[in-house]
Each structure stands twice: as structure tokens, then as C-alpha cells.
Symmetry: D2
Subunit: 345 residues, 4 copies
Amino acid sequence: MLYSKNNRTLGVKVAINFALIGSGRIGKLHAENLMHHVPNAYLKAIYDPNLDEEWASSLKVDLLTKNLDEILNNQNIDAVIISAPSSMHIELIEIFAKAKKHIFCEKPIGFEPHKIRKVTNITKNENLIFQVGFNRRYDANFIKIKKAVSEKIIGDAQIIRITDRDPEAPSLEYVAKSGGIFMDFSIHDFDMARFVSSSEAVEIYCAGNTLIEPKLKEYNDIDTAISTLKMSNGALCVIDNSRQAVYGYDQRLEVFGSKGSIEAKNNTQTNTVLRNESGFHSEKPYYFFLERYKDAYIKEIYEFAKCIVHNKQPCAGGEDAAKAVCIAQAAKQSLLENKPIKIVY
Amino acid sequence: MLYSKNNRTLGVKVAINFALIGSGRIGKLHAENLMHHVPNAYLKAIYDPNLDEEWASSLKVDLLTKNLDEILNNQNIDAVIISAPSSMHIELIEIFAKAKKHIFCEKPIGFEPHKIRKVTNITKNENLIFQVGFNRRYDANFIKIKKAVSEKIIGDAQIIRITDRDPEAPSLEYVAKSGGIFMDFSIHDFDMARFVSSSEAVEIYCAGNTLIEPKLKEYNDIDTAISTLKMSNGALCVIDNSRQAVYGYDQRLEVFGSKGSIEAKNNTQTNTVLRNESGFHSEKPYYFFLERYKDAYIKEIYEFAKCIVHNKQPCAGGEDAAKAVCIAQAAKQSLLENKPIKIVY
Amino acid sequence: MLYSKNNRTLGVKVAINFALIGSGRIGKLHAENLMHHVPNAYLKAIYDPNLDEEWASSLKVDLLTKNLDEILNNQNIDAVIISAPSSMHIELIEIFAKAKKHIFCEKPIGFEPHKIRKVTNITKNENLIFQVGFNRRYDANFIKIKKAVSEKIIGDAQIIRITDRDPEAPSLEYVAKSGGIFMDFSIHDFDMARFVSSSEAVEIYCAGNTLIEPKLKEYNDIDTAISTLKMSNGALCVIDNSRQAVYGYDQRLEVFGSKGSIEAKNNTQTNTVLRNESGFHSEKPYYFFLERYKDAYIKEIYEFAKCIVHNKQPCAGGEDAAKAVCIAQAAKQSLLENKPIKIVY
Amino acid sequence: MLYSKNNRTLGVKVAINFALIGSGRIGKLHAENLMHHVPNAYLKAIYDPNLDEEWASSLKVDLLTKNLDEILNNQNIDAVIISAPSSMHIELIEIFAKAKKHIFCEKPIGFEPHKIRKVTNITKNENLIFQVGFNRRYDANFIKIKKAVSEKIIGDAQIIRITDRDPEAPSLEYVAKSGGIFMDFSIHDFDMARFVSSSEAVEIYCAGNTLIEPKLKEYNDIDTAISTLKMSNGALCVIDNSRQAVYGYDQRLEVFGSKGSIEAKNNTQTNTVLRNESGFHSEKPYYFFLERYKDAYIKEIYEFAKCIVHNKQPCAGGEDAAKAVCIAQAAKQSLLENKPIKIVY
């Protein structure tokens, strides 16, 4: 169930004041979720060099600024939500950590594990809460599966099977800067494999092809991939990725174990089925990731606030971001060399 | 998809100021949905003789009062949401209509059609928007079905099949004042039959029994009922009701027609399935109506605001409330006399 | 699972010799099922005034005859399968019972309960096995439901919900001689209500209309019906019938009780689902009743042989046929008089 | 739909006389399917050194023999069904081919491609029909998927995803002689990948582990495997295998393409769902492969007879058997060397 701003508290009645750093599509979403779904959370400031004035004014936020220092030096701001361009994430984390603000940062933090770890360490040294936007960790389906695995309801996990397919291939412009399918897209699945199994990936083999957009070859990228991971607990994980599933955003996960299996099917807008001469017809999955993970986006910000109040680190932290990048790096190498690669963390 | 307070408008940028009349469980829900999901809507006042102070103060509403006149005479209030005890609904509608406030009133409006029509007429004469809280008319599943029926996707509707079962029988205290199963519970289904078929019920036959709580007999009430309605377009409608489905709140609807059928299955919290030695196990429907119809409650308040802005009557009006009561009256009579009864509107 | 002629026995190794009386579509089916699926069963004779010679010769049956006496007087024949025209059933049962042959008779036995009971009694007096072709009682889905009800897995049955819809309306010629929708079509559902609940129907109310073929009015018949039955154990049963479901033969059954419900969905030819831009598409139910109940037809003949070997009456006997007719008669009267009718057995 | 011995012909009315070579579990099944489901097919002889006399006598077959020559020299025998021990298959095919009998041979033909090809060539030179018992090629689900792929209903195939899990791990005695998981178990999936895609596997990578039975290590075998195949048409295929799925025999297949995907779910004994306080419960897949592929076993023998009548090679021939073995050999090598292996045919 979703979170209600008013009839629940975070357990302790402490007001938390937030600033939003970057108000693009995801930034706006985080701001609104914070305002409407997190008890005792107040959005006090927005930093954005290209602010959407109309949107911002509707929020009645005290401080709208193009000067980062106004937020860094604002003693009233407890925490920041960083949804600026990815290339700025590392630097922003560092300066906000030094300014002693709790930090929620959209993924990707960065593409180099040592840099992610460096800024993560600064947040630790400052005793700050640091959360990374791995939104899928807050999805009800996947949480239920993680719980079933942890509680050994399916016994010992043996096979993890992830299907992750986008509804539409990104533009070549996007691809050029994306870091490639593993860093940009499969990284969610690499994180999910770790999350759901509470285990580490030790080796990866990737097979791939350009079946949707042949021009991807010019970018040394692919659009269709099968990745096999050997996990430290002995389980095998297999991920199938496609950049274009014409029927929508396909998000399935199965964990198979010694006492059974648990699988998440796709979510749909309604549960109706039409029956006619040509068959039985039910709905496609949500097409858009913001719709599919709408509740997960609310829940991750809610959890961030809760972690601040209770001084607890969130389940998606800097080290998780670093490790996912390590796996993605090994994935790229595996594809290049066409052999399984040991993952170095 | 849910409604976002900030990134959508109602088409015209006009602020609407609301007052909440009665802040029990449903009143609180409406207030929060209004605040967090309806653009340009402002909750300016709450009237409640027994106000939950803590909750109310968290809302930062300008006016909290135990004096109805303060709201009636407040020129700033455009619209009221009436969620006071049912017995006061008729009277409250009348005085707020005379005070020229747009009105959203929780159901039931009343148990006497002529009284419902009298106050409905007052709202009409004052050119006010008047909406009744038939929340199910705003559910995505049922809207999709109504649309399929209206657009003749299933051809001409021939059979309407409604399953409506509560998870838990109400207390005998509740039952004593409820007006009986038809007026209190099946009335939603009577309305749904009209809504989904865009047709009127002309005759009803009800069979019933006390299979869950034998003491209901003392109240001349039943807990299990099958109602058959003949609709004005020739279709037949059948409703099965139970006061206690141990597996949850069972809300299914099928419309069968000359070119096919469309059916809504239950909604569940996750789409996971557990497979083990004892079978394949998936989730129960939502247990609680507030969870099941969470989005519908948001949508109905959103639509109320939209109707005010666009000066359009909502799809659930006073006449719908009156007609549903007429059907429920005939249902009671049918059960009593054990014969089909022509419905008098 | 289906029955294998060779790797199973009926428990006792006794050869049983059968004669087939009438070899139309269903007669042929019974003959082949007997030959290929029932251990120790031998088809020794076929009586048919209009025999399909080519088909019959392929069976290598000893005796093909147009003279009924040759079968009546044949001491080698233990049992007969009557699949002659319905109008001859009563007479044929009587003479074969007097000739001391065990009898399987296709439904309908007849349309007059006293005649059905008269011939049933003759079979009893002769200590013969007498089975009626209520094929649905041998369907795996419905057997599983009956078992769940009997074993109180769903607690006490409260609501029985039957959906029975034919894929295609019969010709007016057929309708004219059919006895009407209740006697010809719904009679299966009346029997199913009794079978699955192990309870008797005490009262029935039927609402109906001609929504598919208006000319049915000339035959005092309908094509769409909702029947509500009050059962002797207090449960309510509702049946929705249509003569034409364009998506196929719709055969669903739900029994809802104090501890849960159990429902049978339709069977399909494959379990594939196609996903594309227009949605998720799965298969329609079987279109043809012989396909849908293929296994049930095998099982009923298998059970008939087993009953003979073990000298046990089958679960579908003459009294079941008589009672289903009594319900159908009451249904006709209810429709005519538009009121609930007590069922007289 | 199943095949009926009597009301269908194979298109041409020619009696075909069969001999059964080996009458273990599968041999018996083929014999009975032939007798009861294949028109104009006659089982005339059985060869088995350890004949089950009771079973055989029930079949009323003319010739029961322990002398192979009696069958080889019998001019009346058109075709043989070889279901002798696997180690004898190659030799038996050779001598029956030289005796000019059409041959259906159970899998595995052998573990060495060149030997399979040698005997296949003999059958070709003699203009004989030669079919291999890849039963899954005759399953309705998988045929429907192959058809959808061939007809480009899902566009160009991009990802093939096979789940094949046995309900119970085999005994170590069995494993010792099995040839290992790839040769004994996954070989069905390797064949399915080729069948469903009408494309060749060019490279394979296998990851595996012993998660169910650690003693398998002593046999250089595994019980859990993920295989990734690159197909000649560019598609990627991934197979997940487990020797023990406690919930039953898990047989799923999905082909994903440029215009959608098609997936086969498991088959179950009934389509019932039980709803109670602990959730919604539906049936497990069939547990036993003979139940799951019951219809496929009938169909493959039916097709064999049809191919003989129409002088057409079946869809599962010797070269298919050889190629599946080539893939299995590469799979073993991949596991051993932990790298992708080019498949040599």
C-alpha cells in the first residue's frame, strides 16, 4: 500500500528539511513524492540552473536558487536529493557530504568504483545517511521475493532468472553517452541479483547481439544480451535483456530453490480480460518505467526519510552502487573477450 | 495512473477552496486525497464536532470549527465534502446547496428517493455541482468495462454478472442500523449494473439466506443473496453477495455480449506466485475496501474538482443515488414476498 | 489422466461384452472409447437401422444388425450402450432391462419423471447397473470441486455459481424438438448443482430473454437465462446460460463456502500466451463439447464397466435423470409465470 | 485434440504392420498408442528377450518372439519401433534398415554423431522413413510456438528462453551411465532450440553446479545448469535446467522477437483454483513426463505412420539426433573448460 503523508509518521516526530538538486523529470517526481507521501518531510529549497519556474512556483518552496552555496550553507537543510546530470553526481555527493547533508543520489553515481567508494566513505566519516536510487529494491513484487528467499520459503536459492526488457530502444545520441547496455541498463539486474539473493556475483559471462538497431555496432554496443552470473552462494543467475519489447516494459524475476520457486509477473493497469472470437485478451505491462515503479519511487524516498530519522543506513547504499558497476565492467569485458570474467570488486 | 498534484492541472487554472464536513475515516481520506492529488485544490476548513486535533493540525488548514455557520457563511469556500454521519446527509446537502456550495456527499445520501430528489433539485436550481460517493464508478477496471460496453466492443450486452463479497461480516450493532444488506451493501452493485450497462433496472428478484450469522434473522436481514435484475435494454443482470469471503474483498464483474465478454478480476498487492510441493500459490485480493479502491477514491475527488472547474455534472449524481435506493427497496420487497418486483423510480 | 486399455485393469479380470444401440456421433464415440480405453471390454454387437458400414467394418465387431432381437436374445451380451434417438430411450431401457442387460443410456432419458422412474425401477428389480450419460459428472475439474465441497475444504457451501454457454445457437429445427432451453441445455447445470453440492434443489426462479434469436419467441423458447435455485442445505445456486458465446464453449463453476471458494476455469488446447503491441493473448476455451469433455466421455464409459465388474451403481443414475427433469419442468413454469416455483420431485 | 483410431484415416487407406523391438515402459506406451490411436496400424510382432507375458497376451499380437530374425525376415512387417536399451540402438537401426523396415527409434540413438549419421545414411539409401523419438517436437504448446515463429507472428526471433526442470533427481546409478546432464537431459532443450527457431546453434557456454546432489561431483556431473547458445540467425537462446523442481516437471518455453513474444506455460491436470485465507491456490504442473507428454507420444507415433503412408520424412530425423549430440558434446566441453565453445557438427 502507498504511503499517506498525514495518517502515518516515521515513528519519531521530527521535521526533516530537504533540498532538491536538479529538477528534471526524476527530480520533479522525487519532490512531489516527498511533499505528498512523506510525513514530516518539507521541501525547503530547489537548486537548478534551468528551473521550470511554473512548476517550482506551484510547490511554494521557500528557496529557489541557481547558486549551490545557498543550499550548502543553509543550516536549515538536513538532506538533499541529487537528481542532477549523472556526470555531476560524484562531485555533488562530495561537497554535500562535506556540508554534512544526508544524501539521496539518483543512479548512476558514477562509472568508476573507486570514485564511488571515495565519496561513500566521506558520507560514512561524516555519519551521514547515503542512499542510491536503486528504485527496484523498493518494488513490492521484488521485496516479497527477497523476503521469501531470506526466510528460506523456497529453501536454498539455486537459479535466479531475471527478464528485463525495455519497451523502446533509446536514441543513438543517448546510447553514445550511456556507458553501454551493461552500465546503463543491465546494471539494475546486476543489483537485483545481489539484492534478491543476499549473495555476491563472482563471475559473469555475457552473450550479446545487435538485433534491433544494427548501428549500435558503431558504438561497440548491443541491444540484446544474455548474462550468466555465478553467485558466491553457489546459485546461478541468468538475465535476459532487450532494448525493445514491443508489448511494454517487461519486468519479471524468478528465484528457484530447493523447496520451490517464487516468481513476479508483470504489473498491469487493470485486471480485465476481453474474450472474443480471436481469443482471450488481457493487458500489456506498463509501458513506462515511471508508471511501473511509481510506488517504488514513493517508497524509496519514504525510506530515505525514515533512515534519517532512525539513523539507519538504507538498503541501497554507495557500496551497492560500486559493486553493480564492478559487475557491469566485467560484463563489458566478457562480451569483448567472449569468455567468463571473474568480477573484481 | 494516479493523479499528481503538481504536474497536471485541471485544464483551467482556478484555485478551488474546499471545506470538509465530518472527518471520520472516509473524511480524512478525502481530505488527504484532495491535498495531495488534486491540482489547485485547497482545503481551507474542517467542520467536525469531534475533531481529531492532532490529525487536523498536521494539515495546516486555516479554519477548524465546530460551528457549521462559519463554513456556510464563508465566501471563500467554493465546495464542501460531506462525510458526516449518514443520517445528516440530506439536511447538510440542503443547507449547503442553499449556501451555494458545490457538494460532494458520501453515500448513502438517504434511504428515501423523494428526499434525495428534493435536495438534488435544490442543487440543480442553484446550478451547483453535486456528486455522490459511488467510488466504484471511478475504478480503473470497471471504467474499462463500461467503455468496452459503450463502444460495443462486446456487441450488445446480454448478461451482467457481479460478484461482490465482503471479507468480514459487520457487527450486529452495525447491521441494526444499516438498512439491511440491499440498502447497505448490494446498493453498490445495483448502481454498478446501471453504470456499466447505461441501462435501467426494471424488475428484480432476490433470493437470500443467513448462512454466516443466524442472528441476522432477528433483524430481518440476510448475509447471502442472489439478485436477478431485468434491464431495460433486455440484458439480464445477476449479483451474488456474501457478507464474508474469508479470502478477502471479492470484487468481480463480467459483461457478456453478442461479440464477446469482458471481465474484471480482483486486484492484488503483488503479482508474485509461489510454487512448491503443495501447489502454485498467488495472492488474495485486497482485504480492505480502502486499499482496493484507493485509486478510485483519489479519482472521484479529482473528478469532482474537475467538474467544478468545467461546470459539468459528474457521472455519479443525485438521481443515481435515488435510483439505487429504488432498486434496493424493490430488492427488500422481493425477498419479503419471494417474487420478482417491478422497480418504481 | 486418461485411461489406458492395456496397462490397467478394472480390479477384477472379467471380460464384459457390450452392444451398441444406435451409432450416431455419440454412439461412435462411446464405441471407440470402449474399445480403446476400457480394459477387458469388448464391443460384440452394433444395432443400427442406418448403420455406417465403413465405420462399423473398421471395428471388426462380430455382429452388425438391424434386428434388435438379435441383441436382446444374445446371451453373450452383458451390457448395452443406448445412443439411439432420445424418443426411443424409455422403451429401449425397458426392453433391455427385461432382457437383463446392464444399461448405459445417453441423456435425455425422457422428459417425464414418472416414466424415467418406471424404467429405472425395472433395472433395479433386475439388479442391473443403470447409468445415465451425464458426462460432466466425469470431468476432472468438476470432480475436483465436488471433492473439495464434500471434504469441507471450503467449509459449508453457500453460493454455487455456474456459467454454461454454448458457442453457437442451435437451428430452429433443433429448438422446435428440443423441449426448450431448460430441458435441453440447462438440465446439465441443474444436475451439476445437485452433484457438486450433494444437496437437492427445492425452489427455482428463472429470468430469460431472446437476445440472440428473436424467432425463438415463436417456439416459446429463450436463448439467455438466469436461474436461481434454493438448495436443501441452505446454499443458493445461480446459473447463467447463453446459447451463443462467440469465444467458445464456456464451462465455469464456482462453489463458495464458509472457508473459501473453489472455481474451475475453462480448458484450452494449449497454454500459450502471445504478447504483442495490442495486448497479451491466450487461447479461447474449446469450441466443441466433444473436445471439451473428451476425457469425461472416456471416463464415464470406463466407470460404467467398473460398476458392472464391482456390482456398484454409478454416480449418475435414473433418479438423477428424473430429478433434473423435475427441476427443468419447474424452470419452465417459473419463466412462464415469472415467479419462483417449488420443485416437486 | 487427440487422435481417434477409427474416425480418421491417414489420408490413404493402407494397412501398416508394425513390430515392437523392446517392450519396457516406453515400448509398451508406443505399442498401446499405435493400437488405439493410429488408424490402419497393426501391431503384428513383439521382440523382447524379457517379455512381460501378461501384458503381451492382452494385446493379441500374432508373433511374440525372442529371436530377432523372425522379425527381420518377416515380409509382413513394414516398420519397427525400437525401444530397446539405448546401447543397442545404433546396431538395431543398422540391421533393420538393411532389412528394409521403416524405423522409429527412441532417443538417444547414440552418443557419437558419426555413428548416428552412418545409420541414418543407410536408412536414406534404402529410402526408408526414419524417425527419432524427440517427443517434445509433437507437443501442442511447442508446435504452436514453432508455428508462430515460422509465420513471423512475433517478427524475427531474438531471445529463446527454455526452462526445463525435472521433478526428481535420478539415482546415482542412473547418472553414472547417463552420459551426464547435457547428453541425458538438456539434449531435449538443445533440440528444442533448433526446432523452434529453425536455426542452428553455433556456440554454447554452460555454467553449472551441484546444488541438489553433491555426490554428482564424483561423476563429473552437475544438477543445475544455465546454457547460453548463439544461433545462426543471430538469436540468443538460454536454457535453465534443474534435476529437481519439487513442484513438478517444469516445461516452459518463450520465444521473444521483434513483434512480440510467445510463451508456453505448464500444463496441469485441472484448471481449478482454491481461494482461502492463505491465498489463491492452483495446481502444480504434471509431475511425470509420461503424463505431461502423453498426447505428444501419441502424436509422434501417429506422425510416423503418416510419414510412411505419404513417403515423407518426419520432422525429427537422424540428423536432428546427431546435431543435438554435437551440441551436448560442446556443452560438456564448455563446462569443463569454462568458456564458450564453437559447435562442430
